[in-house]
């Protein structure tokens, strides 16, 4: 009826058009409710791009869960464009009549609010990861906003720093390659590095430089750092693996690969390979396969009433997931289960990787 009303107000319309419009409006409103109530919900993944390894694995995890649960799955890609990301989600909400579960990595922090509001309005269930404004809380949108998942960047930055310090014998100079200056992940991981440095006075941070998450920039930067500090560089801390691998190739060009240990974050395949050969000391991953699949699993289980989000404790609504450390000790096993084959997940273990509520 709403559609019919809108059409009458729009003025110059023939009566027939009005009737057709009203009928069509009534039909779209009435039909899906009858038809789709029996339908299984659609699983929807909304991510930034498919051109980076991280989100490519995310999508694999989402598809693995959808196959396991026997549900239809759609991937939306924002290509780094917030408007497109939100518009695509709204289009999916309209198409499914709200009968969907969304697992979203919002392109930018402010995007989470319109996404959550649109989902709540349409009756869809949503899980967000990484980015949300501090004043947006799942508990304010019961039951539709099920959970928000992040990974503790400070802990990651600190863990890899400590492993690096151990690898170089607890003393000497290191250089650090940071991510894009304004991003939360870059800021937090650097905080973790700073905390580890404060606890290890024998380690000297020779220089902190920014390579904007990119291997190409890290490659050039590393060459320049080698000129400035030469053999004083005993280890390299990189805020992500891609930069770490760029630094590794710069070392290789100088016959230093494997002699100067590198640590990174993300667990991309290049880094896992490098951990196996001993060129990387470790990498830590948020496990995008788990993020892609479990985000949907949490939303879907809330949707079908397996649990009531309103009754869940706070650390199930906004939590840090458990990062997986890949070092010399477990790399062979990780390689077998995660790289050579698709990992086996227990998709019923919804809260197994909760490490605690997100710091306010």
């Amino acid at each position: 009826m709403k559609d019919g009303k809108a059409l009458t107000f729009s003025g110059s319309l023939s009566r027939r058009t009005l009737m057709v419009g009203a009928a069509a409006g009534a039909a779209t409103l009435a039909m899906p409710k009858v038809l789709r109530a029996a339908d299984k919900p659609t699983l929807v993944t909304s991510i930034r791009s498919l051109s980076n390894p991280y989100h490519a694995v995310w999508k694999t995890g989402a598809e693995a869960y959808a196959k396991w649960a026997g549900l239809e799955h759609v991937t939306l890609v924002s290509e780094g464009n917030s408007e497109k990301g939100i518009a695509d989600i709204k289009a999916m909400l309209a198409k499914t009549g709200g009968n969907m579960v969304l697992n979203s990595d919002p392109n930018d922090t402010p995007d989470a609010r319109p996404i959550v509001e649109a989902c709540a309005k349409a009756g869809a269930y949503v899980v967000t990861q990484w980015n949300k404004p501090a004043d947006l809380h799942p508990k304010d949108f019961n039951p539709n906003y099920v959970s928000h998942i992040e990974f503790d960047g400070i802990a990651s930055g600190k863990t890899i720093a400590e492993i690096l310090f151990k690898a170089i014998g607890g003393k000497g100079g290191i250089v650090a390659l940071g991510g894009l200056i304004s991003t939360t992940a870059a800021i937090e991981r650097k905080k973790g590095l700073d905390a580890a440095l404060a606890a290890n006075p024998d380690i000297k941070l020779l220089d902190f430089q920014v390579a904007n998450w990119k291997s190409t920039e890290a490659f050039d930067l590393m060459g320049n750092l080698l000129t400035r500090f030469g053999d004083d560089i005993k280890g390299i801390w990189a805020a992500n693996d891609d930069m770490g691998s760029g630094a590794l190739e710069a070392l290789r060009a100088e016959n230093l690969a494997g002699k100067v240990p590198i640590v990174g974050v993300d667990g991309i395949k290049t880094a896992v390979d490098a951990v196996r050969t001993g060129e990387f000391a470790c990498t830590v991953t948020s496990d995008p396969f788990w993020q892609g699949g479990m985000g949907l699993a949490i939303g879907y289980n809330a949707k079908i009433g397996k649990f009531d989000p309103a009754k869940e404790p706070p650390e199930h609504r906004e939590f840090y997931g458990k990062a997986v450390l890949i070092s010399h000790d477990n790399v062979e096993e990780y390689y077998k289960t995660n790289v050579e084959s698709k990992p086996e997940m227990d998709w019923n273990d919804l809260w197994g990787r909760v490490t605690g509520a997100i710091r306010a």
Binding site: P53, G178, T216, F219, G223, R228, S245, E249
Partner: protein, 346 residues
């Protein structure tokens, strides 16, 4: 009521030349005008090198010069191709797309960790060929469909990027062919092979520009396309050839980038477009076309590379590096372009 506007106009002309180009104009005037100006980029480079050396003598260590050459290899090869396009007064935005296609082709056809191909150096040839084809397509789109080069190559950029995202499945694929990796790892006379390839590209570009008809026609089109056409030059053919030539250089750069990083992912070209355009312009090639050339560009590439290297050696905070870079670019262009002759600044 006829007001004589002539004096007013000339006053504003004088104002422009004296105020806007006061300092560089004076220096140029004292030292012989245009001739000095054409050497300005070289002077900037020398001054930069001297200043950095004073601050940190490590700069002129042989090891650092080798590293400088190594990090200049890819930008130099790219900028060689781009120079021809800018000389025509056009622009080629497909740099990153074409580079990523070439890097994708070489990695997928040579030994890699994703499929069973192992075509060795045929992969390199295929990569360079695919770069050339991308350039050829840009040229055809521009001339046959009569679409401005800005839009035509913007389209090719996204087509190339999309193609490599699709073929690489979004992930990074390792290049395992040892002989291709030797481009970055093997050294001849102390310099990595990639540097020799880049030097080869430079010599080739210089020969094309200064000793072939194509090179002279490209310069002529940039100077005045209508006059060139009236002189009987087949402008369409020259344009297509120039874009294909640019694609050829981008293809080589793609192979070098993949060899240096030992892998290829779709975003391997990120940020290369601006670096290349900056190098070309800082070297003194005018964006309006018809002025400058590959030798200027080589100096421009060195300025940009030395600057990046120098900022690390001087320990300039990463938080202000971009600002310094911006200031240096404006300074270099202010010195090298003869702005007094520009009637309109767009």
């Amino acid at each position: 009521m006829t007001i004589d506007t002539e004096p007013l106009k000339s006053v504003s002309d004088i104002e422009r030349t004296t105020l806007m180009t006061f300092l560089p104009g004076r220096i140029a005037g004292m030292l012989g005008g245009r001739r000095w100006r054409s050497l300005a980029p070289l002077a900037v480079l020398v001054v930069l090198c001297v200043l950095i050396t004073i601050a940190n003598p490590n700069f002129i260590e042989l090891r650092n010069l080798v590293r400088l050459a190594n990090s200049a290899a890819v930008p130099l090869t790219l900028a060689m191709g781009l120079t021809f396009i800018i000389l025509m007064g056009s622009i080629d935005l497909s740099v990153e797309g074409t580079l990523s296609v070439a890097a994708m082709v070489v990695v997928l056809l040579a030994a890699n960790d994703s499929n069973g191909n192992d075509y060795g150096w045929w992969a390199v040839l295929a990569a360079i060929a695919s770069g050339t084809i991308m350039g050829l397509a840009s040229g055809l789109v521009q001339t046959m469909l009569r679409i401005p080069s800005f839009m035509a190559t913007l389209g090719m950029w996204f087509i190339g990027l999309g193609l490599s995202v699709y073929m690489l499945g979004g992930s990074a694929i390792r290049l395992n062919d040892a002989s291709i990796r030797d481009l970055a790892l093997y050294r001849f006379l102390g310099l990595p092979l990639a540097v020799w390839v880049a030097l080869g590209a430079f010599v080739l570009a210089a020969i094309i520009q200064y000793h072939t008809r194509l090179g002279r026609h490209i310069l002529a089109i940039g100077g005045d396309e209508d006059v060139t056409k009236l002189s009987g030059v087949n402008v369409v053919r020259v344009r297509i050839a120039a874009f294909a030539l640019a694609g050829f250089f981008f293809g080589i750069a793609g192979v070098l980038a993949a060899a240096q990083l030992g892998q290829s992912h779709a975003v391997i070209g990120d940020g290369r477009l601006f670096a290349a355009v900056t190098a070309v312009v800082v070297g003194g090639t005018a964006l309006t076309g018809g002025e400058g050339g590959v030798v200027n560009t080589a100096v421009g590439v060195l300025i940009v590379t030395v600057l990046a290297n120098g900022m690390i050696l001087l320990g300039i905070s990463p938080y202000i590096q971009q600002t310094v870079q911006g200031l240096m670019i404006i300074a270099a262009v202010a010195l090298s372009l003869d702005r007094a002759r520009l009637k309109i600044v767009k």
